[in-house]
Symmetry: C2
Subunit: 212 residues, 2 copies
């Protein structure tokens, strides 16, 4: 859930305002942006789904772009908070990668709408807000790459370019919400396990040492 309306604390409520209703705005906007895309979804569409007038939306948000920003920043913040600890915890790199990928897959399903909006509509943000979201994404990728590098030095992985490998894995996992329709909750866990092992297979066998 969107802890409180957007995520940031209640102390100063940095990015956006409001009350209970604000959370509903974000939920409806996420659904709408996912189905029609950010540009194609109009403020009037969003207002209609909430059964209010378009002008009423501007009591909760200063503008359409801020809604998109709230969705993206919120999702990416929660993602980093939930997945990155698996990478920074004190454990073997292969275990860390497998756990992180599994969490990534599960998160991508539980927050599917927000994840798809973040992936597909992020670019519609103004440069400064886009950079803010991208910084969080880069933080995750770099952490992932560092763990891969660590795994190489310990002889667990055989990868020449850890950053490229990190991107490949992220792309693979992020592609999942675009097409995967799980039959039930166990199906998600099954594919999460599957993708965790897939990442390990990638990292272990990428640059096979011609030994032997």
């Amino acid at each position: 859930m969107l802890s409180r309306e957007n995520g940031m604390g209640n102390g100063e409520r940095a990015t956006l305002g409001g009350n209970l209703r604000t959370g509903q705005v974000l939920e409806s906007a996420t659904r709408l942006f996912t189905e029609k895309g950010y540009e194609a979804a109009s403020v009037r569409d969003l207002a209609a789904e909430l059964e209010i007038r378009p002008s009423s939306l501007y009591h909760h948000f200063p503008g359409k772009q801020h809604i998109l920003f709230a969705i993206c920043l919120n999702m990416q913040t929660d993602f980093n908070a939930e997945v990155m600890p698996e990478l920074t915890a004190d454990r073997a790199p292969d275990d860390a990668i497998e756990a992180a990928v599994r969490r990534h897959v599960v998160f991508g399903h539980r927050r599917k709408g927000e994840v798809l909006v973040n992936i597909r509509e992020r670019r519609s943000l103004p440069p400064e807000q886009l950079a803010q979201v991208n910084a969080l994404r880069r933080e995750y990728r770099d952490t992932l790459a560092r763990v891969i590098e660590d795994g190489c030095q310990r002889g667990l992985f055989s990868v020449r370019e850890p950053k490229l490998a990190a991107m490949a894995i992220v792309d693979m996992v992020n592609g999942l919400p675009h097409w995967f329709k799980p039959r039930n909750e166990d199906d998600v866990e099954r594919v999460a396990d599957l993708y965790g092992r897939a990442a390990l297979a990638l990292l272990r066998g990428w640059d096979p040492t011609p030994a032997g």
Copy 2:
């Protein structure tokens, strides 16, 4: 129906429109759709880049959507014609996969603009045209999955769900054009090789038989 003005041309002109100018429209549209997105790019933007008036565009295309359709269908048709033969040729499954992935990567760079438009803006097409493009994509995926399955039966791969593996590989390779900035042409070949081996690593080590 595409017939003359957008696509298949009369005799030899396979990829672009009937007239010389029509090809320029598709080129500019591809660049514009890539940079701003289909919905955000206006007909007036496109006309401005071609240094003609907006109304003149409607001599070449019956509408904005048809331009998007021409780009997507054209790209996907060429893609299948170029990459699928690597899979259907008579060779070992692992060699086929490696070659196909390498071709996929190279194609994704050579036709980067169209590929990105097809991936990101395809959904803005009306259902019937969208289905037409998706049918070609499915054809490729299914072929890829079949080769993977074949490789499993021959003991070359260890994959439980070939279709899932095919999707994972496609997602991985399609992610590349979104972020990869090659320093030169050799860089493309290098990464193409790298990704070809990555796909093999995935398929070989995905479900490791616990055998000793």
